[in-house]
């Protein structure tokens, strides 16, 4: 499988703030990559590096084997991008911007653009200032995919949108991947969306990668187990290898990466019994990882 995006040990500061700290990411052709994390985790900063909008302070970024800062034209020709703000020229009409964008893209697929515009029911003669949030997202999406990019990059594509428009965005992602084996990188705070749509996930927290891997693999290596104690505990039990422990009294919920059998023994030694165990959801993993990282920072 060929590699489309290669980010290697990328670091970036904004003044005293560390925006990205030693982040690496490899994206192969034909897969969907998710970037997950709280606001300010570094998702948008990472995406801007992929587009050559920011120069790495440390480390290296390659897209299609090229440096996007030095060869923006060659890179951006093959990239489709929808920013979170969906910044569109307010004074322009949709058909004007379509014509303008088309001129820059020899690979522009007019039939595909028309088909999408019609399915969204967008009026091409409207100015952007007259479009609703949802319509702007749909228009932005058409502009991002109509040249059939090899790499589609979406920054929080669902943010602030209703269910219907979100479905349109998800459809576009599926179509992009299915139709010609293209690659998608998108950031989202909607974890169930990432769980469904992504083959691979990178969880960022305060500029650092806290979890990374294929979604199935990441989920399979994290478990949530319910531990029950014969009497009420005043404080959380000491369970070795736990990423997070939550609960009260007799029942505690433990997120762990250790094998179920070893947790069973550890719980037994602490006087508890596992009553239920299953693989964790991305949301549970993210929360456990972020809490743990915060605890470690406070302890340091």
């Amino acid at each position: 499988m060929s590699t489309l995006v290669e980010v290697d040990a990328l670091s970036r500061r904004y003044g005293a703030t560390i925006a990205l700290d030693n982040v690496s990411l490899k994206a192969d052709v034909g897969l969907v990559y998710g970037l997950v994390g709280a606001n300010g985790a570094g998702k948008t900063t990472l995406i801007k590096h992929l587009l050559g909008l920011l120069r790495p302070h440390q480390g290296q970024v390659r897209v299609f084997g090229l440096d996007p800062v030095r060869e923006p034209v060659a890179v951006l020709r093959r990239v489709g991008y929808l920013s979170e703000q969906r910044d569109l020229p307010e004074w322009m009409r949709l058909d004007e911007l379509l014509r303008y964008t088309r001129a820059y893209h020899p690979s522009w697929d007019r039939a595909y653009a028309d088909q999408l515009l019609d399915s969204f029911g967008l009026d091409r003669r409207k100015k952007f200032s007259d479009l609703s949030q949802g319509m702007r997202a749909q228009a932005g999406l058409v502009l991002a995919v109509a040249h059939r990019p090899d790499l589609l990059v979406l920054d929080e594509p669902s943010s602030g949108l209703d269910v219907v428009v979100r479905q349109d965005i998800l459809d576009a992602i599926v179509r992009t991947v299915v139709e010609d084996g293209r690659t998608v990188v998108f950031s989202s705070h909607l974890l169930d969306e990432v769980e469904r749509m992504c083959d691979h996930v990178t969880v960022l927290h305060e500029g650092r990668v806290v979890v990374q891997g294929s979604v199935d693999e990441v989920r399979a290596t994290h478990r949530v187990s319910q531990v029950r104690f014969p009497r009420q505990l005043d404080s959380s039990p000491d369970i070795e290898g736990a990423l997070s422990i939550a609960g009260d009294g007799r029942a505690w919920s433990v997120v762990h990466t250790s094998a179920l059998e070893s947790l069973r023994e550890i719980a037994l030694r602490a006087g508890g019994e596992i009553t239920e165990s299953r693989i964790a959801t991305l949301e549970e993993i993210l929360i456990a990882r972020v809490r743990r990282s915060n605890r470690q920072r406070q302890a340091a």
Partner: protein, 139 residues
Amino acid sequence: MEIKINPADGVPIYRQIVNQIRYSVASGLLEPGDELPTIRAFALRLKVTPNTIVKAYEELESAGIVQKRHGSGTFVSGERTRLADWERRRIIEQRIDALLTEAHQLDFSGEELFKLIRRRQALLADSRTENQAKDASGS
């Protein structure tokens, strides 16, 4: 065939698809020779990455539940009965395991549980005969 995906479930999405297709085959909702949706159509319908469907179909194929025919699509295999027996048992065993865990947590002994099951079964059988009698007299 309706497939429900629940990302919050403690089961990977491709496995949820596999399990539900297996269930559909075991229960006769899908019959030998029936065609499954294309990867593209299925991914669009379920709003999942196409690779999840690919993975699910691969697993179903290696389990002998479906067959890929070159250039045409994915079809339910012919060996239904053997599969169904095995599958029926797997499904019911999962339910039994869940019941046993719950019974243990509620402090029922094995003996008490068996008694309860027999009692419920007798009640269900009674109401069924009653309903049949009602149906018969009503018609």
